[in-house]
């Protein structure tokens, strides 16, 4: 095949050089919106350019100033301020952002993901591992301190039990101080067992029912796949693994070093050996599951609610309503999904503050336009900003062009799959997106049928069976079209039928006994893990990598060159495809226009990609990683609800010459459901009626006082203050009848002195009658 190199170099929108000719100039796939590309895995320049923009999205902006602040220092801010810290911007669909906010004195962690793409620095287990137990030396990387300008060699991959990279900055926070954890997607949950197993962890974890279930399955699968390594490398070393020695790290290729240490070289502390199955179990026991739009009240103060985000089945955006402010946490969202319930953006209206945390766009746009921070996007949005019509905004948001585009991509993938199997090759799909897998299953089976091909489809994963069954019992979480199937009594997804017809076979592992019995090639196999380091995919990829008719389908945003390194040289074709992973940039502004927040917390990285017209009423705060932003509150006062029966008890005094009434209020105070309430208590009913005023204002006129006292039968005489230095400005009334007493009167105070209680209270009555009081 002469085309090897050339065909790898084809542009992002090129046709796969498959034998199927009809694809060429046809409509759908030729349009520039299709971002699938077929490439050879041989370290072609294309793959290099592929990685470029992905990395740059997190590093090139000169506006970002990195400061790692110890969060403790921000504690002293007054509580009117909400504090926001972005702990990680994340990377892609599989590694969502992670933030921590402080609201009404409560610390809330938003998501707890794992950076699983960093697994790629490890070597997968060799295929011969199980037949040939001879272990390769873990540090066979002998070529020390080489300068790695040239492409990295697969021998440089770390041969050791992999460790997992968590969000490093999270470790700076004191875990027992976290009050609430909100999880928005299964991906945002994968790091949770690391947190929940910490001694003193006491936070409430809120997750939607479906995310909890899927997240648990993914974590269990991860633990199981990781076990294979343990069996291979033997028991884990105690303490730090050898590859983490500073010397060893120095000798790593620079790309690896950057993955291990981060750009600032501070991320080594984020690496951990994977949690155990028991950690996962313990974590799940601490999780509180919710339905969409179910309100929970945390500590009587915060009302927390999950609303669908459309990204995947069960994923959500969170709203947090406190007495001082309403916050919407906007994660990656999709307006029109063909499997999950759509992005419910209406539910985010009426919040003062939006934490915009959908960082999926740059990756998409970069790859598409092959340039960083593309100008066209911002132009697009600026033309939109001129348009003030809300309805037009809504229309734009709901336009189905995105989902059509996605459908075209899937159809294109299907056509490539059909071409491969027709040529006798097998197809390997390690994509980890449930929605994509479910749709591909349906489309592939239709395509196979249309081409009258009898090629089996396999799903090999320890959790696939349960996951598939699960998707057919959760109509409440699916998109409208799928829900309709419930009402007509059909299964929501086709896989049930496919399994029944024996077109689809689900196995927990490659060595499942029944798998060998029915295994047949060519076939189409779905299998984790997308990092190509763990799970059944490693075995299958090794098996087919040399077959030029076979096809591997990967996702863009994954470093293909690095991912495929252990499988070189590869004859197998590779199709890389990007999928919609969030809100497109041109939709950001129309969306905000509809949501009408007062403040927006916006990622600094996206600042220049979205331009704003002056007509916007909301103020922007731009955030970077590891920087704490204080966000002022709009409301200075809170609202108090007073029970009507309590109000009726109040004795209202009218202030003279003013239309103001004032009255003393006493009741049982409570904070429930984010509201301050004053109920009629048990005791104040009668006591409030007859109580003397406690607070006085105005000045006391002596002549009037004497007159009033006289009427009560109390007589006295006025005497100017004497030698007492203290009472210089004091005037004194000496009472001599009925008993001796003394009234000391100053500008702002009066002292009543009598040896007898009743006289004292009579004098007070007189004083009270002249002063104003409450």
């Amino acid at each position: 095949m002469a085309g090897a190199g050339a065909y790898g170099r084809k542009s992002a929108h090129s046709q796969p050089n498959c034998s199927k000719s009809g694809l060429g100039p046809g409509p759908g796939p030729d349009q520039p919106i299709i971002t699938c590309r077929l490439l050879r895995s041989l370290f072609t320049p294309l793959i290099q350019t592929l990685r470029g923009p992905i990395l740059s999205s997190s590093s090139t902006s000169p506006l970002i100033q990195r400061r790692v602040e110890r969060p403790r220092s921000t504690r002293s801010l007054p509580s009117v301020y909400m504090k926001f810290t972005c702990l990680s911007k994340g990377g892609n669909f599989y590694f969502p952002p992670c933030h921590i906010i402080t609201v009404s004195g409560f610390r809330i962690l938003l998501d707890c993901p794992l950076d699983l793409s960093s697994l790629m620095i490890f070597s997968p287990i060799p295929t011969h591992a199980f037949s040939n137990p001879e272990l390769p030396s873990p540090d066979s990387v002998d070529q020390k301190r080489q300068k790695h300008e040239r492409p990295i060699d697969s021998s440089e991959l770390i041969r050791a039990q992999p460790w997992f990279k968590t969000v490093t900055s999270l470790h700076l926070w004191n875990v027992p101080f976290i009050d609430v954890v909100l999880i928005s997607s299964p991906m945002g949950m994968l790091g949770l067992p690391f947190l929940s197993r910490v001694n003193g962890f006491r936070a409430k974890i809120y997750v939607t029912e479906v995310t909890a279930r899927i997240g648990q399955l993914l974590m269990e699968d991860l633990v199981l796949m990781n076990k294979e390594f343990r069996q291979f490398y033997g028991c884990e070393e105690s303490g730090l693994p050898q590859w983490m020695n500073w010397e060893k790290l120095e000798s790593l290729p620079s790309l690896f070093r950057e993955i291990v240490l981060g750009e600032d070289g501070v991320e080594l502390g984020g690496w951990m050996p994977l949690y155990s199955a028991d950690d996962v179990k313990g974590c799940m026991q601490k999780v509180h599951t919710l339905k969409y739009a179910q309100e929970v009240c945390y500590n009587g103060t915060l009302i927390i609610k999950a609303v669908s985000s459309g990204l995947e089945i069960g994923t959500c955006n969170w709203t947090i309503n406190g007495p001082k402010r309403n916050i919407a946490c906007l994660s990656s969202s999709i307006f029109n999904s063909s499997h999950a319930m759509n992005f419910d953006y209406h539910a985010l209206r009426g919040n003062d503050l939006i934490i915009y945390s959908d960082l999926s766009s740059p990756v998409l746009e970069d790859v598409k336009d092959n340039s960083c921070y593309s100008a066209p996007t911002s132009q697009k949005s600026s033309t939109l900003s001129a348009d003030n019509d809300q309805e037009a905004s809504a229309e734009l948001l709901l336009s189905t062009s995105e989902s059509l585009e996605e459908m075209e991509k899937l159809n294109f993938i299907c056509s490539c799959i059909i071409d491969s199997v027709k040529a006798g090759g097998s197809v390997l799909i390690p994509i980890g997106r449930l929605g994509i897998i479910l749709q591909l299953l349906e489309l592939i089976s239709l395509s196979l049928e249309a081409s009258s091909l009898k090629v089996p489809i396999f799903i090999i994963s320890s959790v696939a069976e349960e996951l598939l069954a699960f998707t057919n019992i959760i109509p409440e979480w699916l998109c409208k079209q799928r829900q309709e199937k419930l009402f007509s009594g059909e299964p929501f997804f086709a896989h049930t039928q496919l399994i029944k017809e024996k077109k689809l076979h689900v196995f927990p592992a490659v060595h499942s006994p029944n798998l060998l019995k029915i295994w047949q090639e060519p076939c189409i196999a779905f299998s984790p893990h997308w990092s190509l380091r763990l799970g059944p995919v490693v075995h299958l990829l090794r098996r087919w990598s040399g077959d030029e008719n076979s096809l591997l389908i990967m996702e863009e945003g994954v470093d293909a060159d690095l991912a495929l390194l252990p499988f070189k040289p590869m004859a197998m074709k590779v199709l890389q495809c990007s999928f919609l992973s969030g809100i497109k940039l041109q939709k950001v502004q129309p969306l905000l226009k509809i949501l009408q927040p007062k403040f927006v917390l916006f990622p600094e990285d996206l600042r220049q990609l979205v331009s704003y017209s002056d007509t916007n009423s909301h103020a922007f705060f731009y955030y970077c990683e590891n920087e704490t932003l204080p966000v002022p509150s709009l409301k200075n006062s809170s609202e108090l609800e007073i029970a009507a029966d309590l109000v009726s008890l109040i004795h209202c005094r009218r202030l003279t010459a003013e239309s103001i009434g004032i009255g003393r209020l006493k009741g049982d105070f409570s904070v429930t459901h984010g509201k301050h309430q004053l109920h009629s208590g048990s005791e104040q009913a009668d006591s409030s009626q007859s109580r003397p005023p406690l607070l006085h204002w105005g000045s006391l006129d002596l002549e009037r006082l004497l007159a009033v006292l006289e009427k009560m039968g109390i007589r006295g005489s006025v005497e100017q203050g004497n030698s007492d230095t203290d009472s210089e400005n004091a005037r004194v009334v000496h009472v001599y009848e009925p008993n001796k007493a003394l009234i000391e009167v100053r500008e702002n105070s009066t002292i009543i002195s009598a040896s007898n209680e009743s006289l004292s209270s009579l004098i007070f009555e007189a004083v009270d009658g002249i002063l104003s009081g409450l």
């Binding site: 809170s638 609202e639 109000v647 103001i660 004032i662 209020l665 607070l695 009598a754």
Partner: protein, 649 residues
């Protein structure tokens, strides 16, 4: 503000549930059922009472349907497609999925078998259901700006829900039918503790208290097992949904356990199709059934097959589920005719059968013959088993729910009048909650909660949030040996938390009311404070100095020197502390209880010393000041001090 409840159905009866409730101007129709016992106009609620002009779209803000039983949903297609209501309708996902099956089944029975004119067509059912908005449990649904509804799990049948509705400050719950104990496939009703003005609850079993249902389930299984073991046939007439699945799970499990091979049949395709729905909606069942979804869905019945008409006369034992329930006609009647004459066979019937059905005749007497019509007579020799478990809560369950929710008012519906009267009495006497059980077409009016909303200051909130702890602790210093062991022993820390908020409400014309802390008021109204205090310089006897042995005080007459000041104060403190308990505090230079401040007075002439009568023998003076809040306590202390002799230990 008031809540108005117009009962259009299920008032002092069971059937055609329909309550129209007006809360703060919003009008909600809860359930829209039909009465199966009537064939005339009485079968539907009298909708004309809602709107004379039949303009239902302006008269009603939304309809909420609790579950798929016809006495709750039966009139809905009529109301939407014939009466023309086109506003929002809410029900849970299962209710939306299963209601059309029930409605269509009923329509078919009416039209095809009884030859009646149809009240709504199949098309009407479909169109009606298209308008329904499905909701999930616990999901807060914003119907409009002011009206919020939420569904809670009710047990009873798949998808049955109680509905919470809130408009402004007023809130209520309408239960529909519910079950407080779990059954074979459903969980027990579940609801949050809510602040409610009104609870409208069903009261089918207003006076019955049931024991464990497991015993009664065993009874049923035993009867069925015995019949098939003897080679008989079991006929179980049921409606396609609900009871059929519950009994099926029961039998399927039992068959597994006992390793029985006798076939279990479902008569119509309808029930098989219904099982398909149940499989997809398994998350609405109870925990145990729910967990079977991945490995073996509990509604994938292993031993159940569909029935073919030719099997009616086939030899050998079998169990057959046939529709409709109560043997009101159709296939179950057809089979009954053939199986009833043999004493080997068994017919099981639900506890409650509508009058006029064969089921009713079989359960009320022990007839040996039943006249089907003038010409046909069926001889009944088979055994009859009456199921004694019901998917409704019993009286204890109703009381538990009412007690748990503690609403301000209760309205009973969906029950029999005399039993409702007795339950009303119980609710009012045992729980002290006002209770009503209006008849159909009656309206009940109740007052609703109202909150005055005021802006409030940070200081007020902070002062209210601070637990109002009163720490009471004696500070005893070593330099003075005056404090006896005895008083030290009483100096334990005592804490009181009086979390009562006190503030000042300020109402100004055309402005939102404001609540502030007392200290903020004067600033707000621009006035200067005038401090009113009380003072009294109180003499305390120190008696004969000889008796204060070991105490080395230099005493001039009536006056103590500065160095002894503290000692006298400590002495007084010790005395007062034993009399007053822990509230008094010793600050070294003075003692304090709330605003009451006591210190030794060293002045020769104190203005607050009222030297009325002759001076008593040796005394120490203590200057006391206090503010009006503590007047009573201050005089109490003074009277203690005046009767004290500090020299007596």
């Amino acid at each position: 503000m008031a809540i108005e409840c117009l009962v259009l159905g299920a008032g002092q009866e069971v059937g055609k549930s329909c309550a129209v409730v007006t809360i703060n101007g919003k009008r909600i129709m809860f359930d829209c059922g039909m009465h199966m016992g009537y064939l005339d106009h009485r079968r539907f609620p009298d909708f004309s009472l809602i709107s004379k002009s039949a303009d239902f779209n302006t008269a009603i803000d939304c309809i909420v349907i609790t579950h798929f039983h016809l006495d709750h949903v039966g009139a809905l297609p009529y109301f939407t497609e014939v009466c023309g209501y086109s506003g929002p309708i809410y029900m849970t996902y299962p209710t939306k999925a299963l209601s059309p099956l029930m409605l269509e089944d009923y329509r078919k029975v009416m039209v095809d078998r009884r030859g009646e004119q149809e009240l709504f067509s199949n098309d009407d059912i479909m169109k009606c259901m298209k308008k329904v908005i499905a909701v999930d449990l616990k999901q807060t649904v914003q119907v409009d700006k002011d009206l919020q509804i939420r569904a809670y799990y009710a047990g009873h049948v798949l998808g049955a829900a109680m509905f919470y509705a809130k408009v402004g400050d007023a809130a209520m719950v309408y239960t529909g039918d519910y079950n407080m104990t779990p059954d074979r496939h459903l969980g027990a009703a579940q609801i949050d503790r809510l602040q409610l003005d009104l609870l409208i609850t069903e009261s089918t079993y207003a006076t019955t208290v049931r024991d464990s249902k497991y015993a009664r389930e065993r009874e049923f299984l035993k009867a069925v097992h015995k019949c098939v073991a003897d080679g008989g046939k079991v006929l179980i007439p049921t409606f396609a949904l609900g009871r059929a699945q519950e009994l099926c799970i029961l039998l399927d499990n039992y068959w597994e356990r006992m390793n029985l091979k006798v076939p279990i049949y479902f008569s119509a395709g309808l029930t098989i199709q219904a099982n398909m729905y149940y499989k997809m909606l398994i998350s609405w069942t109870n925990q145990r059934v729910k967990e079977t979804y991945a490995t073996h869905n509990a509604f994938d019945f292993k031993n159940v097959r569909s029935f073919d008409r030719s099997l009616i006369n086939a030899p050998g034992p079998c169990v057959l589920f046939a529709t409709p329930g109560m043997i009101s006609g159709g296939f179950s009647l057809e089979v009954f005719k053939l199986w009833a004459p043999s004493e080997m066979n068994l017919v099981t019937l639900p506890g409650y059968c509508l009058a006029g059905t064969i089921g009713h005749k079989l359960t009320t007497g022990k007839p040996t013959k039943i006249d089907l019509d003038k010409d046909i007579q069926i001889s009944v020799r088979c055994q009859i088993h009456q199921l004694s478990f019901s998917p409704h809560t019993d009286a204890k369950g109703i009381m538990d729910l009412v007690k748990f929710l503690s609403p301000k008012h209760v309205i009973l519906v969906h029950g029999e009048k005399p039993k409702m009267a007795s339950l009303k009495g119980k609710i009012e006497s045992d729980l002290g909650i006002q209770c009503y059980y209006p008849a159909n077409n009656d309206t009940v009016c109740i007052p609703s909660t109202c909150w005055l909303k005021a802006d409030t200051s940070k200081t007020f909130i902070r002062s209210s949030l601070n637990p109002n702890f009163k720490f009471v602790k004696t500070i005893s210093e070593d330099k003075s040996n005056l404090v006896s062991k005895e008083t030290e022993a009483t100096s334990v820390l005592q804490v009181h938390d009086e979390r009562v908020a006190e503030g000042i409400l300020i109402v100004e014309k055309s402005k939102k009311a404001k609540v502030v802390h007392q200290n903020e008021l004067l600033l707000m109204i621009g006035k200067d404070k005038h401090d009113v205090q009380f003072a009294y310089c109180c003499p305390v006897q120190i008696g004969n100095l000889e008796r204060t042995k070991g105490m080395d005080f230099a005493l001039s007459k009536n006056v103590v020197s500065t160095s002894d000041e503290c000692s006298w104060l400590h002495l007084l403190f010790a005395k007062l502390a034993t009399k007053l308990g822990g509230n008094i505090q010793d600050f070294g230079q003075h003692l304090q209880v709330d605003s009451i401040h006591i210190s030794v007075c060293l002045k020769d002439i104190c203005p607050y010393r009222t030297t009325d009568g002759p001076q008593k023998e040796p005394a120490v003076f203590f200057c006391c000041t206090w503010s009006v809040a503590d007047v009573n306590l201050a005089w109490e202390i003074i009277s203690i001090m005046e009767n004290l002799d500090l020299s007596i230990i």
